[in-house]
Amino acid sequence: MNPETVNRGTVNPGTVNPDAVTEKMPALRTPSGGSPVIGRPRADFPTPERPATERGPRAYVVHSLLQAKRLLTKWFRDPLTMIQTVIYPSVTLLMFSVVLGRSITGATGENAVYGQVPMIALVGSVFGALASGVSLKREAQTGLLTRFYVMPTHRASGLTGRLLAEAVRMVLTTLFIVLVGFAIGFRFDQGVLPAIAFFGLPLLLGTGFATFVTALAVMAPKLPLVELLSLVCTLLMFFNSGFVPTRAYPPWLQGFVANQPMSTAIESMRGLSAGGPVQGPLTQTAIWAVALTVVFAVPAVRGYRKAAMGRD
């Protein structure tokens, strides 16, 4: 059978015969062997000699990094995300410091900025996770997740890449807040290692919270996520030990204020910057973060798979 016949057979679907198709396959596999033009030029695409696998640890790492890079690029190019993660927390910190700093420091005798910097760093991390949850919902709705799912990518890379990107964003937000803090009197009085550990706390709690938001975003796509969680976050923002010290709250509220995850993280960060107990609050924060991650990891993974497969 000459190429002429094969060509005609492919172009005209009415006359396709099985022989012509089987004849065509070898031609596709040899990109350099002077392949005949069959129908459309797609036959000229080279077939990779060693196709990258979509399984295994190497693919997991490479694909996760790729997904993280995609999200970070998207966030960096979106002015709204930048405002939300950088400008908004910085301005809030300045406002809190200028407006309330003097009153709080005067009434409690502790420099308020050592509570405010950790608080705003955590709030920035938490609200950033919220914004990312919204973008995840949009990606599920527009079918981008499904699109990734039918490509040869590692199944776990989407979720891992997202958490990685979140981690980078949280460290950057904290860095920016600390820089603004330096301008208004915040200092690392405990040395270099505690200063580095300081950045770990938003990361620790933020990862737990991001898992929680992801689980909520993919498990219950109909829920008014932003409104609901904004409400919770705003409450946590007002009732923590960074806004004013725990003992300034009414006695019946002090138990909640002292033990909610944001306060434990703030107290650890206060200890790591101004000085004070670290181990106790740090252990509490770790328990909160691990608990959030463990409880919501399975729903997050299952929900993500469900969303990616496009089934409601």
């Binding site: 002015p79 709204l80 405002i83 939300q84 400008i87 908004y88 301005v91 809030t92 406002m95 809190f96 200028v98 407006v99 309330l100 003097r102 009153s103 709080i104 005067g106 009434a107 409690t108 008014p224 409104e227 409400l231 705003t234 409450l235 923002m237 007002f238 009732f239 806004f243 004013v244 300034a248 709250y249 009414p250 509220l253």
Partner: protein, 268 residues
Amino acid sequence: MTAAVATTRSSGRHRAPELSSFQQWRALTGRVIASQLRTHELTVALLAPAIFAIGFYLPLRFVMRVQGIDYAQFVMPIIVLQAMAFTAISAASRGAAEELNGINPRFKTMPIGPAVPLLARIGGATFRSALSLIAALFYGYLIGFRFTGGVGPAVLFVTIAMLVGTAFAMGGDAIGVLSRSPEATSQALTLPQLILGMLSTGFVPEEGFPEWIRPFARNQPISQFAHAMRELAEGTVNSAALIPALLWCLAFVVIFAPLSIWANVRRQ
């Protein structure tokens, strides 16, 4: 012959229902309120003041008592003003969304008075402001706020709040309609809300600020509103407190009302 005439007349009446502009406004305002209900905007309007009332009152009560201030009485005006600012931001989002999704341009092609859709959105926003104000005053009563100055000043307190809310809603609507981007608009408006709200004498007295920023904090409009409303609630109001607030109210109406009308009825 007669039948033909009758058909013509009835079909004519069917095609052009003669609603007055007021009836059109009522219908479109109903539409806005129905949409506020559907998107749980009204729930937010009722809940947000609660969060801010207890969110500032409980933590700062102790701090302010040290300075000899009854914080429930002190913070109430700014809680109300915050609620008005939230209404303005949601009005801006709505204006942007309706310009973007095409219903606003669609209204322009229909036999509706040119400013009726605008006035309907403002009507919806005013309705939301009123609900938010009632909710805020309710939470205020729970934490210990009282009108001790009698009915007249209390009415004036509510009037100033509603005027400010309506003027801000008109400004928000104009910005939204001109920007056509709901997310960007609400994000951008959060910043002035935060700055003007916080850098005012609504949350802390002037002495709480560093010296260099006191003139701004004392004289900016939100502080003037908060000061006048606080005095009205206490019944100790005098013209020195009231006149700047009323002038600022007037200024906002004079700026924002024509701006929103221009943004809505101009032809692109």
